[in-house]
Assembly symmetry: C2
Homo-oligomer: 321 residues x 2
């Protein structure tokens, strides 16, 4: 029943941190790590690696930087079954921030890029690969990418890097089944040497569904987060994805346990999941930042019609800027 080539990456801390500036305690991250490691998931992205010269540690929590020493404190000298890694943004990390893989507890690095910066992403991914890490490139905001330019970028990544997979990232939660099918077909057509991956967002309650559609078309690297935690409407829930995949390697039980131990309370503190403003940005294929700002204003947060009208009339300039 299951496809053995499929690998799951848990992004709970990295993507969840977009809500609270990565201010998760070591205890929380350790509990999540232990659950994910125990569940048999293949990869875990613990946070971003970023330069403390660019982001202030006073403002941002540990997992904006995810130093090697923080990772060691989480795994407590154990030998994880799961591969551990971080995400890096172009221009927000310096080469010195990345030690050789042999000196690090990390196994992989994922480079996040917009289509326009693919050349820089290739350089950074190659740098990570040369230092011994499994490397990946995630192409963000893909629901707005012109296909011609996308095809060229994918061919270039295919021939010029040694990444494990190139991931389709639906940053705006704007895709649905037919657009997912088309994108995975494009990736699989032009990626002759590398795998295709998929990272969903749930603005239109399609995060899990779109991940299923990516699987059906042959994507083998799949992202998810526990309880769907993530900026705005959140992500594909790990508990749904593991249930669907039917791979006996995966166990749902540690994930259910950590949801009841950690995520029920966490949801009382920080907000994520399907809400009308996020739906509206998803439907309009827009970045959710306007919806997130709207939800943070106590007087506006539930004024849905007002938000929709501002986003669909010339007034939208006011809200987007």
């Amino acid at each position: 029943m299951y496809r053995k080539e499929i690998k799951v990456t848990d992004c709970t801390i990295r993507d969840g941190g977009l809500i609270n500036k990565w201010q998760f305690s070591h205890d929380l991250v350790r509990t999540v790590y232990e659950a994910v490691n125990c569940s048999g998931v293949d990869y875990m992205e613990l946070g971003y690696r970023a330069s403390a010269k660019i982001f202030s540690p006073k403002e941002y929590g540990t997992w904006r930087f995810t130093r090697d020493q923080d990772v060691r404190e989480i795994i407590c000298n154990s030998e994880p079954k799961i591969k551990l890694g971080v995400m890096v943004d172009i221009g927000r990390v310096e080469e010195d921030d990345i030690l050789p893989c042999s000196e690090s507890p990390l196994d992989f690095i994922r480079v996040a890029t917009y289509l326009k910066d693919v050349d820089k992403a290739i350089d950074l991914a190659n740098h990570c690969h040369e230092k011994g890490y499994e490397s990946f490139i995630n192409i963000m905001a893909i629901s707005t990418a012109p296909f011609f330019e996308l095809e060229e970028a994918i061919r270039q990544i295919d021939s010029e890097t040694e990444v494990v997979a190139v991931n389709i990232v639906d940053s705006f939660g704007g895709l649905w089944s037919e657009s997912v099918h088309k994108l995975v077909e494009i990736f699989k057509t032009h990626l002759l040497r590398h795998e295709t991956g998929f990272h969903a967002h749930n603005n239109q309650q399609l995060g899990f569904a779109n991940t299923i559609e990516a699987i059906r078309k042959g994507a083998n690297y799949l992202d998810a987060t526990i309880s769907g935690i993530g900026r705005g409407a959140g992500n594909c829930p790990l508990e749904l994805l593991l249930s669907f995949l039917k791979n006996p390697q995966y166990s749902l039980e540690p994930v259910l346990q950590v949801i009841e131990d950690v995520f029920v309370d966490l949801r009382q503190e920080i907000e994520w999941g399907y809400l009308i403003p996020y739906m509206i940005t998803g439907v309009l294929n827009e970045h959710p930042r306007t919806a997130i700002a709207w939800r943070q204003d106590p007087e506006k947060r539930d004024r849905y019609l007002d938000f929709f009208q501002k986003m669909t009339t010339p007034e939208c300039y006011e809200i987007k800027n």
Copy 2:
């Protein structure tokens, strides 16, 4: 871009009433009716029609019975654009409860049935048709229906009734894209005279996604509820469906307005939407009643692992009975 044959049925009050025994005030139902009527949606199912000899009006609210006089109080002698109707269950309504259509403010009646009771459903649908109503048959719990028996039932409905559509009802939220495709294909193969419809549940966050898949395969009668309200994990959200359909007949604005006016507060009073126990029954392709009972116990409601283990071991007998 849009398919003019597609008709949308709002089931907000009927399906939402499964949470609170249909104890919605006339004011609330009138507000919802006005929004749905104004949105351009084609059909609105206001509640169940049931016999007061079978259900006690002391225990159940107005919309368990949905008498013609209640409907008249809602529409206030106006002439609705939308077609209004009720759902009936086999054995829970008497012929005398249904006046001729010419004497009623209702336009349609939908007969809900399990596959085993299709013969009775045909009789009841024909009775409604003879009284002048548009009639429909909804086949519930379809994710457990043996295909051979289902095909026979559909052929029988096709030849023996004048229903407008036969609706696939995913009562357990157990379907996903490929099973939706297969079911719609079966319906369309054997329904030579009638339309195919689809009623989703959201246990696996696939309510909207499965509705899209039904559309892609040719289902033209689609059910949804405002804010996805409905028993357990709820339904396909009307706001998502209208946004997707792109039919200029439909307006999202009245739906957004009524969500902020009514449903934000209502959600503080009654629970619906994706939660882990509902997910577990969806994944296991089981009726959500065990999950609903679990959520109603204050000591158990967030003990997800315990629920999963009980549902997947011999102990499940204890929880199901």
